[in-house]
Amino acid sequence: MEVGAHIFDLLPAYALGALDEADAELVASHLASCYLCRTELGSFQAVVEVLPLAVPEASPPPALKSRLMNQMQSLRAPKPVRVQPARPPLLQRLLPIWGFASLLLIVVLTASNLLLWRQVNNREVFTGPLGMRAIALNNNVEAAPRGSGFVLISADGEEGALVVDALPELDPSLQYQVWLIRDGQSLRGPAFTVDETGYRGARIEAPESLLSYSEIAVTIEPVEGDDPSPTGEQVLGGSLHNQ
């Protein structure tokens, strides 16, 4: 695709989820920085949203409701307050990030201009004057339609930070989970929630250089889950390598 060209022809199939992975990634990347295409996509998503009404009606058996309500009795009600006995408060956990992230942001902001930020939005890796990298992530348009995020990685890959914006607030039983992926293996990164604006920053640490991982993903996982790999819906993701 020509850089900067619109992708109108791909949008109807993207709204249906009928694009292959490579094209879908291309569209998601373009949408992150193109208001016109996002607007056009919205009109096709509206079509997809009403299509279920075209399905002829059918009724489940009456006993299904009893099954549901019985099942509900064994499920815990959503907790009004999040409980994390084994962890310090989220703010305290995230506090150290601000030193590193702020430094990175200051350096990047002072060294760059609007054009450079457009490059980041276009999911090109922006390399700062000290070799730091800022990598924009792709959002899942269904799980986080307005979500965005980028990863900042130091030149040696030893330190990293994730900053997200406009992610949906989650049920108290759920949290966002960062994963670092290499050779199909996932390493659990930090977990976080977002404020009412969907914003949050989190420091990323790993036993090896962050640059040795190929991808990063953010999924929605249960607060008390300890699966070694992602089980929930992915909201953000992207490659950590130069593109």
Partner: protein, 196 residues
């Protein structure tokens, strides 16, 4: 006059606070829609029942993540249903073959639920408009659209299943979606306005 969309939002808010009777009411309102969409995708009543249960449990667990400014509750429910049903089919590796996927393979039924009777006139009109719009598409466009919508197939997979070139499939889906957008413009606007 009742505003069904606002009532739905209130139910979701109560569910987020742990009120199970709100789930019961939401089920009464939307079980037929959810079951119908699931059945249309998987083509099997027993599996559609399980999907319907899963969807309401998921909605109970995720009620706190719902944003009324982004979509109507019914839209949220049907999107969850469609994705979950397609996921199940992919896991089972048993997506219906192209001949069984269409827009009219489930027979309509009489309505029994008081909520549906109350909303049925408006809903029926919307349903008729959408079905009429789809019926205006050429058969080959309907077929490609049904494979994408019900089966979750990609362009490439549809091309292989229909033994048509990739370009032909892309064109059919693109033309179908453009025509539906044109024909359904006021249905979408009405749907959006009701959620406000």
């Amino acid at each position: 006059m009742r505003n069904p969309a606002a009532d739905d939002v209130a139910l979701i808010e109560r569910m987020a606070k742990g009120h199970s009777e709100a789930l019961s009411e939401l089920y009464d309102r939307h079980n037929r829609l959810i079951f119908s969409v699931a059945l249309a995708i998987v083509g099997d009543r027993a599996t559609a029942e399980e999907i319907t249960l899963d969807v309401f449990v998921l909605v109970w667990q995720r009620a706190g993540t719902y944003h009324p400014d982004r979509s109507k509750v019914s839209t949220w429910l049907t999107a969850i249903t469609r994705h979950h049903a397609i996921d199940i089919l992919r896991r089972l590796d048993s997506r219906a073959d192209s001949k069984s996927v269409s827009w009219d393979h489930v027979q309509p039924e009489a309505k029994h639920n008081p909520y549906e009777v109350e909303e049925s006139v408006e809903l029926s009109l919307q349903r008729e408009r959408i079905q009429a719009a789809i019926s205006q598409l050429p058969a080959e466009q309907q077929e490609a659209l049904a494979l994408a919508f019900f089966g979750g197939y990609t362009h490439q997979q549809i091309s292989e299943r229909l033994n048509q070139s990739l370009g032909t499939v892309k064109t059919r889906i693109r033309l179908a979606m453009h025509k539906l957008r044109h024909l359904l413009q006021d249905v979408e606007e009405s749907s959006i306005n009701k959620s406000e």
